[in-house]
């Protein structure tokens, strides 16, 4: 077990009334690419900071590679790689200087672990004399990943590595993570992008400091209850209100260019079609669609809201 988290809670604020994490338990296997998926403010960064020994939990315990985050923080700090959500390298040092600096503080050299970062580094090598602050978003993230990898960590912590990065760079970034996984590295990554979830071995859905579900992306999709219909009309806003008033629709929300309606006990799309027709909608299109991770998230969140978290 690479990471094991046992009932961790953490609150902030003067009266400890902001609950960032509530009784979270998780375990991540060695060599796994584990994704922590959740919206902003769900508690992802707090969990990362606890696991990287930067913040102490109020209650509960956690170990990384068998070392306790509270007592053995020195050991953990030597063997994990951490890439915070915010770009945290030295903006006024060049690409190469940054890398050399981090190699030095981890008591290693660029040459020693060049193999590991080679694939990533060659992409930023043309800019190695450029200041890190002048790099593009995607380049910055690649450099930050190189710096986090320079000492060949056993566990890699990546806090929202693809936030604010363009689609192409995001794809490239995930391809790199797959490469690193092949080398046996445990990777714990968080992202607010649901589409990236399918690229992980297992994912945990986190919301308001609680974990709603931990599973493989496939299993999570299979667990989806009811059917999902994609609906398009000429008046999207009115349609959203109308759909939410339709008895069989348990939840309806906008998803890209269409509405996703979560429906139970309804077999025929015609019924929905007729309903919208009666409400004077035009150009109605109703199709059954396969749920995505985001739909699963919406469903779990809804279930969560029905049974509110007990306030301690």
């Amino acid at each position: 077990m690479a990471i094991s988290i046992d009932r961790i809670s953490k609150s902030y604020g003067e009266h400890k009334d902001v609950h960032a994490l509530r009784e979270i338990s998780l375990s991540v296997h060695t060599g796994e690419l584990f994704g922590l998926i959740g919206p902003d403010g769900a508690g992802k960064t707090t969990l990362f900071r606890i696991l990287t020994t930067l913040v102490l939990p109020d209650r509960g315990s956690a170990t990384v590679e068998g070392k306790d985050v509270r007592d053995d923080f020195r050991d953990i700090r030597t063997m994990v790689g951490y890439m915070p959500g915010r770009f945290s390298l030295y903006q006024d040092l060049s690409v190469e200087e940054n890398l050399r600096f981090f190699a030095t503080i981890f008591h290693t050299t660029i040459e020693e672990n060049y193999e590991l970062i080679k694939d990533i580094y060659v992409q930023i090598e043309p800019f190695k004399k450029r200041r890190a602050g002048d790099l593009s978003g995607g380049m910055k993230q690649k450099l930050a990943l190189c710096c986090a990898l320079i000492h060949r960590p056993k566990v890699l912590f990546l806090d929202e590595p693809t936030t604010g990065v363009d689609v192409v760079s995001r794809k490239e970034f995930w391809a790199m993570l797959q490469q690193l996984k092949k080398q046996g590295m445990t990777i714990f990554v968080s992202t607010p992008y649901m589409d990236e979830a399918t690229l992980c071995d297992r994912i945990a859905l986190i919301q308001k400091g609680s974990i709603m579900s931990v599973d493989t992306p496939e299993n999570l999709l299979n667990k989806y209850q009811g059917d999902l219909w994609g609906i398009r009309t000429e008046h999207m806003y009115k349609a959203l209100q109308d759909l939410n008033n339709f008895p069989s629709v348990t939840e309806c929300y906008t998803f890209g260019a269409m509405h996703h309606a979560q429906v139970s006990g309804l077999q025929m799309p015609a019924e929905l079609h007729n309903y919208l027709d009666r409400k004077y909608h035009k150009n109605i299109r109703v199709e059954k669609i396969k749920p995505t991770i985001e739909d699963c998230f919406m469903q779990l969140m809804q279930a969560d809201e029905r049974e509110p978290v007990p306030n301690e």
Binding site: L54, V55, F73, R77, Y82, R86, F87, S88, I105
Partner: protein
Amino acid sequence: MLHILRDRRTLLVIFGMPIAQILIFGFALSNEVKNTRIGILDMARDEQSARYIQQIEESEYFETTHELSTTKEIDQLLRAGKVQMVLAIPSTFSEDLAHSRQTQVQVVTDGTNPNVATTLENYTANITRDFQQTLMSATELPYTIKVSTRMLYNPQMKGEYNFVPGVIALVLMLICTMMTSVSIVKEKELGNMEILLVSPMNPLTIVVSKAIPYIFMGLLILTIILVLSVTILHVPIHGSLLLLYVVSLIFIFSALALGLLISSFTNSQQMAMMISLMGLLLPTVMFSGFMFPIESMPWPLQLISNLIPAKWYFYSIQGIMIKGLGIGAIIKEIAILTFFAIFFIGLSVKKFQIRLA
């Protein structure tokens, strides 16, 4: 507006500082000289001189702490800073008055702070004139007592002698404390500290390595000020240059440790700057003694001034530069400075945070 009100600490600074300043400037700090420690060398020792001395002592400006018996002691006492002025009355004081109705006294002052020295001379002259008046009204004969003055260490009455050591103390405090705290807090603000902490490096090593450049910077700046003072302002360095640097280094260490301390409980560069400026710079200006004589402050403020490392530093470098004091004469100041340095370093190590929060 709401934002301003929410930041309680800043609010405290905004409202607390003017109040404190008004109180301190208004009541405590003045260029007026009171209760100055003086020494009296009475070589006449007769009725007339005793009356004269009594009149001097009755004023609120002077307080006789030493009675001298030889002229040699004048320099010793002034050099050690035990008194700021010595009043010498010649043995022929009364005789001269009786025979020629003319006599003189000598006032020797410590010229390292020329403003204070001049003020003391004027006070003495005034009191002497009063004494003259009383004599005259009793006998209706014209008496003249001449006050001849001499300023030691700074015969040309150069203000530089006072402000150069003061500026050195100020600048070193400013550079070392503010720069260290701001540069470390900047790392925190930019998130660099987050990665640095998650590394095998001892967190203290990180911070100490941030502080080291400022030691050299402080020493470099000290050198620049010294070179400028000697070449342009013609301020002499009478004492040992090595001793000057050693004392400065001790002072720099305590300033750096203060900077580390500030950085460990602030999270924004602005806050660190505010605390360094308001919390350290102002007390340094007010209580180190180079702008406002400490002797004329009320005793609670005199006590507080003892807690300001810059006061001790100012005294020692002024002593070394202007009076040419050796290590023996300022051993107390050095000991206190060393204590401050050790105390602040210890405190900042203890308060140092190995985690983010």
